[in-house]
C-alpha cells in the first residue's frame, strides 16, 4: 500500500488571527485610558468597560497563542488552506466590492445584474448566454419584489434605473 504523508498543519492563520486580536486588545485598552473617562462623579465612565474588554482580549489572545504553539488547535480540519480556494474567495470579494462601488454610477439594478453575471460566468463556470439571461431574469424578479412590493428606494443610474 502506498504511504501517504499526512498534510502539514498550517498554524499561520491562527497566529495571524490571534496576533490581530492581541493588537486590538492593546489598542482598545490604551485608547480607553487615553481618550475616555474611566470613572465619572456618579458612575462608571465610557472607558471603563472598553478598558476591561481590551484587557480580556489581551489575556485570552496571549493564552490562545501559547495553546497554538503547543499544537492544541492542530486537530482543526479547516486549517489546511489551498491557494486555489484563497483565490476564489478574493475573486468573489472583488466582484462584490467592484459592483457595490459602481452603484452610485450605474445604479443598483445594473450593479446587481453585473454581480450575478460575473458570479455565474466566472465562478460557477456557466456559459455566456445562459449567464446573461439568468442574471437579467434574476435581477428583474429581485427588483420586482423589492421595488414594487417592498417600495425600497434604490440608487438610480444616470439613465434612470
Amino acid at each position: 500500500m502506498e504511504y501517504k504523508e499526512p498534510s502539514k498543519i498550517n498554524r499561520f492563520p491562527n497566529y495571524l488571527i490571534l496576533g490581530c486580536t492581541l493588537m486590538l486588545g492593546i489598542l482598545i485598552s490604551t485608547t480607553s485610558l487615553l481618550f475616555y473617562d474611566y470613572l465619572t462623579k456618579d458612575t462608571l465612565g465610557a472607558g471603563f468597560s472598553t478598558f476591561w474588554i481590551g484587557v480580556l482580549l489581551i489575556v485570552i489572545s496571549g493564552l490562545s497563542l501559547v495553546q497554538t504553539k503547543r499544537g492544541k488547535f492542530d486537530s482543526d480540519e479547516n486549517q489546511r488552506v489551498s491557494v486555489e480556494k484563497v483565490k476564489k474567495i478574493i475573486f468573489t470579494m472583488i466582484i462584490c466590492i467592484v459592483c457595490m462601488s459602481l452603484v452610485k454610477l450605474i445604479g443598483m439594478a445594473i450593479s446587481i445584474t453585473l454581480l450575478i453575471f460575473l458570479f455565474l460566468h466566472f465562478l460557477e463556470g456557466q456559459k455566456l448566454i445562459r449567464s446573461i439571461l439568468v442574471s437579467i431574469t434574476c435581477s428583474i424578479v429581485v427588483f420586482f419584489i423589492f421595488d414594487f412590493i417592498f417600495k425600497v428606494q434604490f440608487p438610480n443610474s444616470l439613465i434612470g434605473f
Binding site: 492563520p13 488571527i17 490571534l18 486580536t21 486590538l24 486588545g25 485608547t31 475616555y36 473617562d37 465619572t40 456618579d42 458612575t43 462608571l44 465612565g45 465610557a46 468597560s49 472598553t50 474588554i53 481590551g54 480580556l56 482580549l57 485570552i60 489572545s61 493564552l63 490562545s64 495553546q67 492544541k72 488547535f73 486537530s75 482543526d76 479547516n78 488552506v81 476564489k88 474567495i89 468573489t92 470579494m93 462584490c96 466590492i97 457595490m100 452603484v103 452610485k104 443598483m108 446587481i112 454581480l115 450575478i116 458570479f119 455565474l120 465562478l123 460557477e124 439568468v134 442574471s135 434574476c138 435581477s139 429581485v142 423589492f146 417592498f150 425600497v152 428606494q153 434604490f154 440608487p155
Partner: protein, 504 residues
C-alpha cells in the same frame, strides 16, 4: 386555564389574514431554504430578516420562526435523499436516513422524519408554553444586579460551550463585547470608537452584522465547497410510500417520546442547540432501543430519534431568548435581532407588555407545524426538483439577497459595506474554528450588560458588593464561577491525559 385562554386568543389572531399567509410563507421558505444544501436555518433567517421589516413584530416573528422550524424539516430531505445534511443538526438523520434510501426505503425515511418532527415539535410546544410562563414569572422581579449577573452567566455558558475550544469562544465574546461598545455611550453621551463617522454614532447595525456573519459568509463558504448533487436524487418518494406501517410506528413511538423530552431539555441549555440534542438522543436510543443493533444501518428509529430531538430542541432554544432575552443559539440570536429591529427587548416584561405577540407566536407554531406536515407530504418531489434546478444560481442569488436586504433596511450603502466586511470576517473565523455565536451574543448583550452594571453601581453607591448581597445575583455568579472552574479543571485533566498518552 388562563394559559389556554391566551392560546385561544393567539389562534384567533393567527388564523386570520395576513398572519395565516405569513405562516404559510415562512414555513414554505423554510422548507426551501432547508432543502438547499449549504443554506441552513441560521443563514436563512439572517438573510430574510430584513425582508420582514415591512411587517409588524408579530408578522416578522411568525415568518422567521416559520423559516426556523421549516428549515429543520427541509434539511431532512437533503440528508435522506443526497446524504448532504443542510446543517449539523441533520448529520444524524443522514446516517440512517441515507442508508434507508440506499435500501429503497427513502419514502418511509422521509415519512417517519416528517411525522416524528411533527410530533416532537407539537409536544415540545406544550413544554415551551408552560415552562416559559413559569420562567418569565420568576424573572419579572429581576433588578439591574440580577440582570448583569444573568448576562454574565449566559455569555460565559454560550462562549464556553460553543465550538471545540472554550478559549476561542471567550475570545470571540470579547470581540463581540467591543463591537457592542461602538457608538454613543448612552450614559455619558461620549462617542466611542466612531472614528468621526456619522454612520457609527448609533453603533453598528445589528442586522448588517447578522446577515454578514451568518448569510454572506455562507456564500463565501459555498464558493469553495461545491456540493455535488448530480443525478443522485431519487424519484422513489411518493405519498403512498411515505406512511410508516404499524410495525414501524410501534417501534418508533417510544423513541420519539424519549427523544422529544431529551431534545427539549438540551435545547433549553444555552450554547447546546439542536446538534447536541440530536447526537445525545441518538446515542441514548442506540443503547436503549429494541432495534439498537440496526442503528447506523438504516434503522427507522434512528431517523425518528434525530428528527424528534432536533425539532424539540428548536422550541427549547426559544425559552432563554423569550423569557430572559439571552439567545442560546445562533438562530435565536437572529430572532432577537428581529425584536431589536422593532425596538422591543425580549425578557419577562415581554410576557406582560406584549403578551399578544408571544401567544400569537406560539399559536402560529402549532398551525405552522401542521402546514409543514401537509407540505412535506405533498411537495417533497417538487422540492427535490427545485434543489437540482437551483444549484448553480443559488449562491449569486443569496449574495444579492444579502446586499439588497441590508440596503433596504436604512437605504444605506454603509450597511452593505459593513455586511460585506462581517461576511469576510465570519468566513475566516468559521474556517479556523472560531465560533461566531459568542461574538454576536457579546455584541447584542453588551449595551444591556453595561447599563445594568452602571445602574447597579448607582444603586449601591459604587459598591460592587451589591452583586453578592442579592441572593439571585449571588446564585447566578456562583454558577458562573463554578462553570469557569470546571472549564479550567477539565482543560488541565485533558492536557495531562494527552501528555500521558504521548509519554506512554
Amino acid at each position: 386555564m388562563e394559559t389556554i385562554g391566551y392560546l385561544i386568543e393567539g389562534f384567533n389572531t393567527v388564523l386570520a389574514f395576513p398572519y395565516i399567509f405569513y405562516i404559510i410563507l415562512g414555513v414554505t421558505i423554510g422548507m426551501i431554504v432547508g432543502a438547499l444544501p449549504g443554506v441552513g436555518a441560521v443563514s436563512g433567517t439572517a438573510i430574510l430578516l430584513p425582508l420582514t421589516y415591512g411587517m409588524d413584530l408579530t408578522g416578522s416573528l411568525i415568518v422567521l420562526c416559520g423559516i426556523y422550524y421549516g428549515t429543520m424539516y427541509g434539511n431532512t430531505i437533503t440528508a435522506v435523499m443526497l446524504n448532504i445534511p443542510g446543517t449539523s443538526a441533520s448529520v444524524i438523520t443522514a446516517i440512517d436516513g441515507y442508508e434507508m434510501n440506499k435500501q429503497g426505503r427513502a419514502g418511509a425515511a422521509i415519512g417517519m422524519a416528517t411525522f416524528s418532527s411533527f410530533i416532537g415539535a407539537t409536544i415540545s410546544l406544550i413544554f415551551l408554553i408552560f415552562l416559559s410562563s413559569i420562567i418569565a414569572q420568576w424573572a419579572v422581579g429581576f433588578g439591574a444586579p440580577e440582570y448583569f449577573s444573568l448576562i454574565l452567566l449566559g455569555l460565559l455558558l454560550v462562549s464556553g460551550l460553543t465550538g471545540k475550544h472554550p478559549v476561542k469562544g471567550f475570545l470571540m465574546m470579547g470581540i463581540g463585547l467591543f463591537i457592542g461598545t461602538i457608538g454613543v455611550d448612552l450614559i455619558t453621551g461620549e462617542q466611542r470608537y466612531t472614528l468621526d463617522n456619522i454612520y457609527l454614532i448609533d453603533g453598528i447595525e445589528l442586522v448588517a452584522v447578522l446577515v454578514g456573519l451568518f448569510g454572506f459568509s455562507e456564500v463565501l463558504n459555498n464558493v469553495i465547497n461545491k456540493f455535488n448533487i448530480g443525478d443522485s436524487y431519487s424519484k422513489q418518494v411518493n405519498i403512498k410510500k411515505m406512511f410508516p406501517n404499524i410495525k414501524e410506528w410501534k417501534s418508533s413511538l417510544p423513541t420519539i417520546s424519549r427523544s422529544t423530552i431529551v431534545g427539549f431539555l438540551i435545547g433549553v441549555l444555552p450554547g447546546a442547540g439542536a446538534t447536541i440534542a440530536t447526537v445525545f438522543s441518538y446515542s441514548i436510543e442506540k443503547k436503549v432501543s429494541k432495534n439498537r443493533d440496526n442503528f447506523g444501518k438504516g434503522a427507522i428509529e434512528g431517523v425518528a430519534s434525530a428528527e424528534s430531538a432536533n425539532n424539540s430542541a428548536v422550541n427549547g432554544a426559544l425559552i432563554p431568548m423569550l423569557t430572559l432575552g439571552i439567545p442560546g443559539s445562533a438562530v435565536t440570536a437572529v430572532l432577537l435581532g428581529a425584536f431589536i429591529m422593532f425596538g422591543v427587548r425580549p425578557g419577562p416584561q415581554l410576557y406582560e407588555n406584549q403578551s399578544d405577540v408571544i401567544w400569537s407566536l406560539f399559536a402560529s407554531m402549532y398551525v405552522g407545524n401542521f402546514v409543514l406536515l401537509l407540505l412535506s407530504i405533498l411537495t417533497i418531489p417538487l422540492f427535490l426538483y427545485l434543489l437540482v434546478l437551483s444549484k448553480n444560481i443559488l449562491q449569486p442569488l443569496v449574495a444579492v439577497l444579502c446586499i439588497i436586504g441590508v440596503y433596504a433596511l436604512n437605504n444605506s450603502m454603509f450597511d452593505v459595506w459593513v455586511m460585506l466586511l462581517f461576511g469576510l470576517l465570519g468566513f475566516i473565523l468559521k474556517r479556523f474554528e472560531f465560533p461566531l455565536l459568542p461574538l454576536v451574543l457579546g455584541f447584542i448583550l453588551m449595551p444591556i450588560a453595561e447599563t445594568s452594571l452602571r445602574q447597579s453601581l448607582l444603586m449601591s453607591g459604587y459598591d460592587f458588593m451589591i452583586f453578592i448581597e442579592r441572593p439571585t445575583s449571588l446564585v447566578l455568579l456562583i454558577i458562573a464561577l463554578l462553570y469557569i472552574l470546571a472549564t479550567i479543571i477539565s482543560n488541565i485533566i485533558k492536557s495531562k491525559k494527552s501528555k500521558m498518552n504521548m509519554d506512554g
